[in-house]
Every structure is written in C-alpha cells, then in structure tokens.
Amino acid sequence: MFSYYLQLALRSLKRSPGLTVLMVLAIGFGVAASMTTYSVFRAVSGDPIPWKSSKLFVPQIDMWGPKGRSDNGEPPDAMDYADAMALQRAHRAKLQSAMYQVSPSVVPTGAGKHPINVSGHAVYSEFFPMVDAPFRYGSGWGDDADRQRAAVVVISSKLNEKLFGGANSVGRSVSIEGKDYRVVGVLDDWNPQPRFYDVVNTGGFSSGNEDVFLPFERAIDVGMPNDGNTNCSEIPAESGFVGLQHSSCVWLAYMVELDDAAAVSAYRQYLDGYARDQQQAGRFGWAPNNRLRSLPDWLDSEKVVPSDTKVSLLVALGLLIVCLVNTAGLLLAKFLRRSSEIGVRRALGAQRTAIYAQFLTEAGIIGLAGGVLGLLLTGVGVASVSWVLPKDIASLARLDAPLLVLTLLVATAATLLAGLYPTFRASRVQPAWQLKSN
C-alpha cells in the first residue's frame, strides 16, 4: 500500500512542479538556517567536561566590598593574591588550584631560530587530576615540586612537536624566559572549549593553544608576569608584579573539586568562616558575600555563550516556523484542490486512515526532499561561519553525524506537522457532495 501512496504522491508533486519546488526550498532554507545556527550554539554551550562538571566549583570572595560589587551585588569574578593563597594554604577541598595566565617566551634550540611566545598557565600540582588533563608521556608534577618551586614544566603535544619532533621529551629541558625547565609531562591533544578552568581570561573560547603549565609558586618566584586581565578597585601602592601581589587587584582564577553535597556545604561554611575572620581582623568591613558556583552555573554566570549566538538561533527558528506556516498553507490549498479525487476514493471505499496515509506520505516526501536540500545548505552554512564569526567560535562549529541525522529528522517531522491540518481537512471531505457537484 505504501508504494501505491508513494506513487500517488510523486504523481501529485509532479503535477505542480513549481509549488513542489517552492515547498522544498522553504523547508530546505528554514532547516538549514536553524541547523547552522544550532551547530554554533551547540559548540559554545556544550559541557567541556561532562563527566565531572558537577564536581568542579569556582569560589568567589568579596574582597572589595560594596564599592567593587557589580550592580546585582556580585563579588569580583577573579581572586586577589592574598585570598587565593589563603585558600590554597587551607587546602579544604579534595583538589584545588589557584592559577594565572602566563605568556613566556621559549627559545628553541638551534642557531638562527627566533624566540617564540607560548601561552599557558601557572598552576598547582592538583590542577592536572582536577581537570582530568590527558597525558601522552609522563605526568604532572607532585606536591613536593610545588613546595620546592621546582623548575619543571608540562608541555602540550603541539609544543612537543615543535621543540622535540614529537618524541618522548620527559626529562629533557626547555628554555623558558632564559631559564631551563625539565619536562615532566607531555599532554595529549587537549583543548577543552570553553576553556573552563579560566573563562575570565579567555572569554570562554580561545583558538590559541595552551602550550605550557608551570608550578605556580615557581612562576611567582621568577616574576613571570600575569598575561591575563587585571582588575583593580584602587591603584596598587607598589609598582610591578610584586606590587600586584600585594594589592587587592584581582587576576587569579581558582577552582576546587568537591565530590559530594556534604563537601560542598562544608566548603561553603569554610569560605564564610574565612570571610568572617577577615572581617574580624578588620580587613573586610562588610559581611561575607561569597559565591561557590558549580562549573555549569559558573559558565552561565560568566555568560560564556555569546548573546549573538542565542539571538541568531532564535531568529533562525523563527524563519523555520514561517517556512512551516508557508508549507502548511500551500499543502492545504493543494490537498483541498483534490477534493473530487478524495471524494471518488472515499466513495469507492477508502477509509479515512487511507486518506491520512496518502497525504502524509506526500508531506513526508516534501519534508525528506527539503531535509536533503537542508543538509546541503547546512553544509554550506557551517563551512561559511568562519566568514561571519570570530575564529575562536567559528572553528568549533562542525557538521557531524548527529547533526546530519537531526537535520533530516527536523525537516521531515516539521513538514509532517505542517501537513497534519491539511490532511485532517482532506480526510473530512464529504464524498457525496464532491460527486454531486461534478
């Protein structure tokens, strides 16, 4: 029976090719616009570490007081040196690390080679297990290296390729800012987007690579300056990097791992207790106003998904709805024009369900054809996002199998939905009336 409906549908579609093309085009464009913008939205709103994001938390401490708060009473979204170090020393979470962005120069071995700038972070040893950084060779450093301020480094596979031709370089040395560092680990390809451990400095997305990770206190010792944002509520009393450490300026990111609800509430209490201590000591002249957000909440509060991306997706969905309304109108006219044909079929004994099957098949074919066109246009769309979007985000949007399936599915389902009312009307055609009038 289905093949018969298929035949009927194809014949009907061929009878008015202009209209058929119009419907297919409408569905194709509507779906392609939605899917292209969705591919961007999906890329920027994804969870960078889904297996663990609910256990990672970002503490915020209100070290500036009322004058430094944002309009909605939020404390600064980064930390000053004194408070970050206090949290690090107290060591109340399972894993924790203060970190800051660095951009040291690396001098490649070999004559005539220019120094290169690499970017990375100064972190504590617990950073690596906390973010589940994958290693190709070696591993992170131990907490003894933290304490001894050892000259060790974890490098990216890309930098390893550049400096050592991709060989296992554990134990070899790299010249960073003119000093030798021993490689203890080489990361696998690891480029989480959004760059969740430091969204303040990357805005969430970065096309740049993270090439080096150095022990935090070592970097402080050698005066490797902060390459990320610095926000101050007052001009630091002393100049230079040391002055920054003594100031209340915020420039450090901080992340902790807390495995269960009890640990979370204990850490929250600890933060409030710490702020109260600071209040009693006279350093804070205000009541505790801390935050402890889980990673998904943190990404949300930092507005990692650009509002342009959301607006584009909404507008594209609006376009799809218009296309569907358009298709529904055309199908309605088309189906009702065949009232006499329906009358004859019904008079000859066809059930209403048969009419449903016939016309929904027709709608389904249009949907499928629209979906195929939509696939092609989505391909074009995704390929050309780099032309209209900043590189950091454009490079994340890609066409993969789930998106392909979704495109076809959305096109077909949407067209069937649009065809539902026209089909219902067609099935209500009164056979007697149609036969009489002819």
């Binding site: 202009g18 209209l19 119009l22 085009l25 409408a26 464009f29 509507g30 616009a33 913008t37 004058k67 951009s103 120069s105 001098v107 220019h114 120094p115 290169i116 700038n117 800012e177 003119g178 300056p225 610095t230 101050c232 509520s233 007052e234 001009i235 630091p236 100049s239 230079g240 990097f241 002055g243 920054l244 650009p306 509002s307 342009d308 959301k310 607006v311 584009s312 507008v315 594209a316 609006g318 376009l319 709805i321 218009v322 296309c323 309304v325 358009n326 529904a328 109108g329 055309l330 309605l332 006219a333 088309k334 024009r337 032309w387 209209v388 979007l389 900043p390 009312y421 009307r425 002819n438």
Partner: protein, 412 residues
C-alpha cells in the same frame, strides 16, 4: 470596490486566509527586529576611529629576557630605527590603540573629592610622536613636549601633570567647552588624586574596545605622556602615502635586525589598521550579514507563498470569475478584487505582526543586551510587507483577469 463579497469568499477559505495572515505577521515581526539589529551593527561598523586608517601599521612586540631598564633602552632604539626608515612618516610606542581589543581604562573626575567618576576613559601611553603616528588631529592646545615624556614600570600609575584628551571627553567633563587648560583627575580609588592639566585636545580617538559594553564611552580617550618599560607593547607606524604594503614586510625584518631577542606573534602580530578594524568588527559584521540573509529568505518565501496560494485560489475560482465576467464585470474589476482581497489579509497580518514585532523586541531587550525597537522600523516593515503582498499577488491576479467570460458556460 465592495468588501463584503470578498469577506464572504474569505470565510470559505478560513484556514488558508489565517495561514497567510499568520505568515505575514511572523515575517513582519522577524524582519523588523532583524533590520533593527542590522542597523545597530552597521552604525557601529562605520564609526570613525580618528586614526589615519589607510596609512597605519601596528606591530605587537614583546621583549625576551629584558628588565625594566633594558626594555626601555631597546624600545628607544627600535623607535629611532623605525623613524629613520624610508617610507615611514612617524612611529610611536603604546600600550594600546583604537580597536585593539585590550587596553587600560580609568575613571575621570573634575572634582577629586566626589566618589563617583563622571565617566570611564581609556588611557593611551604616548609620546610627542603619538598624535602624528596615529594620524589624529590636534584641534586645540599643544602636543606633548619631549621633556615631558616619562618611562614608567608596568602596573605603576601615577597621574601625569599633562594630558591630551579627545574632544568627546572634553565635552563630557567640561560641557561648556572650556576643558583646555583645566585639570582632570584620573582615578581608581574613591577620593583624592593628583590633577592633570589638559594641554591639548584631539578631534577624535576611539577606545580599544568594540564591544557593546564600551559604547557609552567609545570616544573618551586620554593620552598620557608615559612610555611603559614593561616587556609588552605595540608599535604604531604611519606610512608615507603608498608605502604601507611595503612596510608590512620591511618593518618586522628591520626590528629583528635591530634586536633578535623579541617576539612578534605570527598571528595578529603585524596588522594594518584595515585588518585591525576587520577583526574588531567581525562578529558585528557577521551578525548583520546573517540577519540580512534571514530577511531576504523570509521575504522571498513569504512572497512566493502568496503567489502560490493565490494561484491556487484563482485556479479554483475560474468558473466564478467567468460568471462575473459574463455578468458584466470588467478585467479591472477582477484584478482589483484579488488585490483588495490580498490587502485585507495583509492588513490583518500586519496588525498582528506589529504587535508581535514589539513583543519580540521587548523580550529580546529583557533577555539580551538589546535596545528598544524604534517604531519607525515597524512602520517601514508594515508598508514593505503590504507592498510585497500586492506585488506578489499581481501576477496571479492578472491571470485571473484574463479568464474569458465563456468560462462560465464550461463545466469543470
């Protein structure tokens, strides 16, 4: 033209009528908002920076293994070499420049004892060559004198004795236009601070940021007579006419010849100002393009939908049209029947659509950083959609008007 028979006929096509009207309403709502977004982005894109954009080259530089003293002397050597280059009109060194993306900002006050600054403004570290290198226009007062320039460490900021500010900032802090020679206070803390005398005013100089959040101080710039001894900064090089292309290669080569212990990033390290502008506004331009494409597709689909549906109705009503023609209706009567019918549907659509457009905009305003839709856009959108409907219905209506009266006598 009688409207009653048209309404009676439309009642028999209730669903079709409602669907077309709904389509017109949704199209209007989306197109109004999309056009509004386009207008906002484009007005941002065409903002002048105050820089001689076709002649400026920027080079990002950081020193390798240099302390404050060596960085300063190396930068001075670079500047001398750059200024002596053939094809270079002038060169300067700064922490930032318009549209760069990152920079420094401070509050500006005229009374040191009030807590709240009048506005935020960006701080450009400058010397006596900066105005010429940028191509900014000094409209009042004087440039910095060579002896006023000081070399200062990073993260160190002490209010300078002299500043040059942009005209927009001058008018903001001294609305009566008397800023020249008056003091301003560059502030981070709540009260106090040293006065800086405004010694010069430049016509225009944009801030380094192109984001919406900076739009309320987009031309508020302060040039301070400081040069940073930090390892990081940008050279701003103004080429002589026609020499810019040659300099994009020659400048980095010369810099590396002068001193090898530096990093000029491979990406975004050497950029002409045209590239700077392109990259700064990429997402705004992209959004405008995307909204433009969506508008075009929407209008095309809606027009095509009207053509399609009206054609069907014409086909369906051939016999009735024949009867009307046989009873004495002219071709013109038939034509205006369909045009009026479309106008009625369109009118219903745009009324709902205008409300939807405003509702959609209010929702966008409350959820995203968006401004209130100007009603002009709704009016223009309404007129455009009604015209689009009339245009789309014209061809099927002409076809209908050509139905011969003899059709009345033929059975289907």
């Amino acid at each position: 033209m009688q409207i009653k028979p048209i309404l009676a006929a439309l009642k028999r096509h209730k669903a079709g009528t409602v669907l077309i009207a709904l389509q017109i309403a949704l199209t209007l709502a989306i197109v109004c908002n999309a056009l509004f977004i386009i207008q906002q982005r484009v007005s941002k894109l065409v903002r002048p920076t105050g820089v001689a954009e076709s002649e400026v080259l920027t080079v990002q530089n950081s020193w390798v293994g240099a302390d404050d003293a060596t960085a300063a002397s190396r930068t001075k050597t670079d500047l001398l070499a750059l200024r002596g280059m053939p094809g270079v009109r002038d060169a300067s060194f700064s922490n930032s420049y318009p549209l760069r993306g990152g920079g420094m900002s401070l509050g500006v006050k005229t009374d040191p004892d009030v807590k709240k600054p009048i506005t935020g403004a960006t701080i450009y570290y400058s010397d006596d060559h900066s105005i010429d290198a940028l191509g900014a226009k000094l409209i009042a007062g004087r440039n910095f004198l060579p002896q006023e320039i000081r070399w200062v460490g990073s993260n160190e900021f002490d209010a300078p004795a002299q500043v040059i500010i942009s005209k927009a900032l001058a008018h903001k802090v001294y609305p009566d236009g008397s800023a020249l020679g008056k003091p301003i206070y560059l502030a981070l803390g709540e009260t106090g601070g040293k006065p800086s005398t405004v010694v010069g005013i430049v016509e225009r100089l944009q801030v380094p940021w192109s984001g919406n959040w900076a739009s309320n101080f987009v031309e508020y710039s302060v040039l301070v007579p400081y040069q940073s001894t930090g390892a990081f900064g940008s050279y701003i090089i103004r080429a002589k006419p026609g020499q810019l292309d040659a300099l994009t290669k020659a400048v980095p080569a010369l810099l590396f010849k002068t001193n090898r212990m530096r990093v000029i990033p491979a990406e975004r390290g050497v950029r002409t100002f045209a590239q700077v502008r392109d990259e700064a506004y990429k997402s705004d331009r992209g959004m405008a393009i995307l909204m433009g494409v969506v508008c075009a597709v929407l209008l095309a689909i809606t027009a095509a939908g009207i053509v399609g549906l009206t054609s069907f109705w014409v086909g369906q009503r051939r016999k009735q049209i024949g009867v009307r023609r046989a009873l004495g209706a002219t071709k013109h009567d038939i034509l205006s029947y369909f045009l009026t019918e479309n106008l009625l549907i369109g009118a219903g659509g745009v009324i709902v659509g205008a409300a939807l457009a405003i509702g959609m905009n209010l929702w966008l305003v409350s959820h995203f950083e968006m401004e209130r839709l100007s009603l002009l856009y709704v009016v223009v959108g309404v007129v455009a959609l009604l015209l689009l409907g009339q245009g789309a219905v014209l061809a099927p209506a002409m076809k209908a008007s050509r139905v011969p009266p003899v059709e009345a006598t033929r059975s289907v």
